[in-house]
């Protein structure tokens, strides 16, 4: 009989310390395996499935706690070796982030290159919005490139630090920086092309707090504002969490060869893009049907 939790234990061991494994993770997995085996001996198939689902949900909750504790441990036990590992990892993540951001900017700016009135320097306002997707993906590819099965404790500490930093950067960027730069970009282009007066903010130019206020006030469909504000609000939160999810994917395949890891990364990126392109449209369709 296959024992549940074996691969999960390997995943936890990649970034949890020895004490956390001994006190929290191993007892949880041992209890899950025992309960699963007991249900198997009794011939209760559905109970086995319920035990498996409940056990994995419990381990998912535990992983959130362990991740938080890992960040604290990394900060308290930081060494010079960790700093060197962090610099190397940041360099890798930075390279991938820069490449993806450059592609995003080039893609977004295509329609503006043809406008002679718009000065090229205005395209700098597109940098924050391009980083919104480039930072999580750059983090994933950086981890896939640098972190393998034999990664040292320092490298794992650096990975935890990078994931925490990427989440915070993404939160600040898409919550407040990108809306402001988007509005500045629109205002500059509007003025350069002969527009007069103020440019009204669209959903992409609203900060987290402004979007949240509209959601709480029940302002869903608003004429001229496009998709439901709830979709925009929760899509942004999904983007804030995406560095953590993409890092989980990267760390879970660390024992494979680098070429295989990078291939998985490209596949994950494609699925991620699909989710962010199709998800809001599906949600909008569902909201439209329910109204």
């Amino acid at each position: 009989m296959t024992r549940p939790g074996v691969r999960l234990r390997s995943f936890f061991a990649g970034w949890c310390g020895e004490k956390m494994m001994r006190q929290r993770v191993d007892p949880a997995i041992a209890d899950l395996q025992a309960e699963y085996a007991e249900a198997g001996r009794e011939g209760r198939t559905w109970r086995r499935r319920r035990v498996l689902v409940a056990g994995y949900i419990a381990l998912a909750r535990l992983s959130v706690y362990c991740a938080w504790q890992s960040v604290g441990e990394v900060v308290r036990e930081w060494t010079a070796g960790d700093s060197r590992a962090l610099v190397r990892l940041l360099a890798a993540c930075g390279l991938f982030t820069t490449a993806i951001a450059a592609f995003n900017i080039w893609n977004s700016a295509q329609s503006y290159f043809a406008l002679p009135e718009v000065h090229r320097s205005v395209l700098l306002f597109l940098v924050p919005s391009s980083l919104a997707t480039a930072v999580p993906l750059g983090l994933m590819f950086g981890l896939l490139w640098r972190i393998d099965g034999g990664a040292s404790r320092a490298a794992r500490s650096a990975a935890v630090a990078c994931v925490a930093a990427a989440s915070l950067v993404t939160l600040a960027n898409i919550g407040w920086i990108t809306p402001a730069s988007n509005q500045s970009f629109r205002t500059e282009v509007f003025a350069a092309t002969g527009g007069v007066g103020d440019v009204r903010k669209g959903q992409s130019e609203l900060t987290f707090s402004e979007l949240g206020q509209r959601v709480r006030a029940g302002r869903t469909m608003d004429a001229g504002e496009g998709p439901d504000v709830r979709i925009a609000y929760y899509s942004r939160w999904a983007l804030v969490l995406s560095p953590v999810l993409l890092a989980v994917v990267a760390l879970s395949v660390r024992r494979r060869a680098r070429s295989r890891r990078m291939t998985i990364g490209v596949g994950t990126m494609a699925l991620w893009w699909l989710a962010f392109m199709v998800g809001p449209r599906l949600a909008q369709f569902a909201v439209g049907r329910s109204m």
């Binding site: 234990r9 006190q23 025992a34 085996a37 998912a60 909750r61 535990l62």
Partner: protein
């Protein structure tokens, strides 16, 4: 040289519940504590609480031998310590005096 002040120990509701169950039933696994608590303890986070209690010295734990017939990881059994029993007694008897609203 000034004497070092002892650390103030606290006992949360969940820790108190765990100690009550361990004193009533002796050694228990984590999942047995969840079942005995009638879901007041959660399956995922009970191990976090148990780890914290072990750090405070309220409980001890030992690894059971791995099951020979089906394999799998050895399970961890938990037991209350003398300190844990004294803490539970102190909070049980003292809290109604300190915070009478608790006793109502």
């Amino acid at each position: 040289m000034a004497r070092k002040r002892p650390r103030v120990l606290t006992l949360s509701d969940k820790e108190s519940l765990i100690l009550q169950l361990l004193m009533r039933d002796g050694e228990l696994y984590g999942l047995q504590l969840v079942a005995a608590s009638r879901r007041r303890l959660k399956r995922g986070t009970v191990y976090v609480t148990l780890g914290r209690m072990e750090d405070k010295g309220f409980i001890t734990s030992r690894l059971e031998d791995a099951p020979a017939d089906v394999g799998g990881m050895p399970r961890r059994l938990y037991q209350a310590t003398a300190l844990g029993e004294r803490m539970l007694a102190a909070f049980t008897q003292g809290s109604p005096v300190l915070v009478p609203e608790v006793a109502r």
